[in-house]
């Protein structure tokens, strides 16, 4: 197997090592993704433990299941999205 096929197209399998994935990701116009176990304290001082390997934390403040995102950000006009 050669790293570069004869026709010059890049060989997908030979691409460089992928980067380490981030633990926290800010999704444009959407939630913050959070990987791993965490306890979140909300604005009222209530604590919430993550229950899944990746959680989506609401950033638009309109979710009905805060602190978690419930997709409500998509119903907001674009300028009100995070």
């Amino acid at each position: 197997m050669s790293a570069q096929p004869a026709d010059g197209t890049p060989d997908v399998a030979a691409r460089p090592v992928v980067e380490e994935r981030p633990t926290i990701v800010m999704c444009p116009e959407g939630p913050m993704l959070l990987r791993g176990d965490a306890v979140i304290e909300d604005a009222e001082g209530n604590r919430h433990r993550t229950t899944r390997p990746v959680s989506a934390v609401c950033r638009c403040n309109k979710s009905a299941t805060k602190p978690w995102c419930d997709g409500t950000h998509k119903l907001l006009p674009k300028k009100l999205r995070p």
């Binding site: 691409r15 999704c27 444009p28 939630p31 993704l33 899944r52 009905a64 995102c69 997709g71």
Partner: protein, 322 residues
């Protein structure tokens, strides 16, 4: 599960053949199908051999060249139909820059305007209508996430790891009690319905079988891997808000907690999954293989289109204006 009831000439011939010993020559031509319903159940059964099989069919039929030939004839019709409908709904992308793909895909899904079953359930549906909906939906939910599982070995490193991260959550994060399919089983039982795999296939609407078939079709063909993932992305991106409406409707009608919980779980889970499916799976795949961009939208369209057709079909049966 046993073979479903035949629904026409083709499925009758096919199911008769499948009850024979494998190796018995099959000379059926898919073109003998009476109609879309006959084709849908025949294709559904041929795919099912790859999932859980049938008690009354020898497992060796799965790879019978004769059977695969019939299946290929049915897939040709399915693909031609799908591509024809997609041609009228291609996204109007201003650029094909991969940096814009996430936004374009979310926008494409958001711009799609179809009948909302979830809204009907939320405010108006009767208990009998919801029971019928659950029976129809069970055809998919009892194998939820399975059609995308076929795609895993066909992906390069980044999208493969990301798809597994999403699928792991679908499959309960290692906890069988949290497996989404199982949550639905428990919901069905609590609602007084049958929960065994395939229990309601005989009453499944053609549109429900077709939706199921599209998912298997995209999942089982490596050349359509990006479409399968586009389907997944659109499915997840149209789930959180409708799931919340479903949960509210079921509560309104006094359905048991278990089935309400199934939908509640999907509100939060799919708010995560839609981001993963779009940003960590579809976008990195297209970065590596740019020629797959259009397939992602084809798959997204396939999801939106088949969901619409099921909703329109059921709402029409109930005399509800879509």
């Amino acid at each position: 599960m046993r073979l479903p009831k035949a629904r026409g000439t083709l499925s009758e011939q096919l199911f008769t053949a499948l009850r024979e010993e494998p190796g018995t020559p099959v000379t059926i031509d898919a073109a003998v199908a009476d109609d879309a319903e006959d084709r849908a159940i025949a294709l559904w059964a041929s795919y099912e051999l790859h999932y859980r099989g049938f008690e009354d069919v020898d497992d060796r039929w799965e790879w019978s060249p004769d059977l695969l030939r019939v299946r290929a004839g049915l897939e040709e019709v399915l693909e031609a139909d799908l591509r024809e409908r997609y041609a009228a709904h291609r996204p109007d992308r201003t650029s094909d820059r991969v940096e814009d793909l996430a936004k374009d895909l979310f926008d494409y899904v958001a711009a799609h305007d179809g009948p909302s079953m979830a809204r009907h359930v939320q405010t108006d549906a009767t208990e009998a209508q919801v029971m019928e909906l659950l029976r129809q939906k069970s055809v998919y939910h009892l194998k939820e996430a399975d059609p995308s599982a076929w795609v895993v070995p066909r992906l390069p490193t980044g999208p493969k790891a990301a798809l597994m991260e999403l699928q792991f959550d679908e499959y309960g994060d290692g906890n069988p009690a949290r497996l989404h399919q199982h949550l639905f089983e428990r919901g069905l039982e609590a609602a007084g319905l049958r929960s065994e795999y395939g229990a309601y296939v005989d009453e499944a609407a053609t549109t429900v079988l077709e939706a199921n078939n599209v998912q298997s079709f995209l999942g089982l063909h490596r050349r359509l891997r990006a479409a399968s993932l586009g389907h997944l992305a659109a499915f997840e991106a149209t789930s959180s808000i409708p799931s919340r409406r479903m949960a509210q409707g079921l509560e309104r009608l006094g359905f048991p907690d278990e089935i309400v919980e199934y939908y509640r779980e999907h509100v939060e889970a799919d708010a995560v999954h839609e981001q993963l499916a779009v940003r960590d799976i579809c976008v990195p795949l297209v970065e590596l293989e740019p020629h797959l961009a259009d397939d992602v939208f084809l798959g997204a369209f396939a999801c939106l289109d088949t969901e619409d057709r099921q909703a329109r079909d059921l709402l029409a049966r109930w005399g509800v204006a879509a």
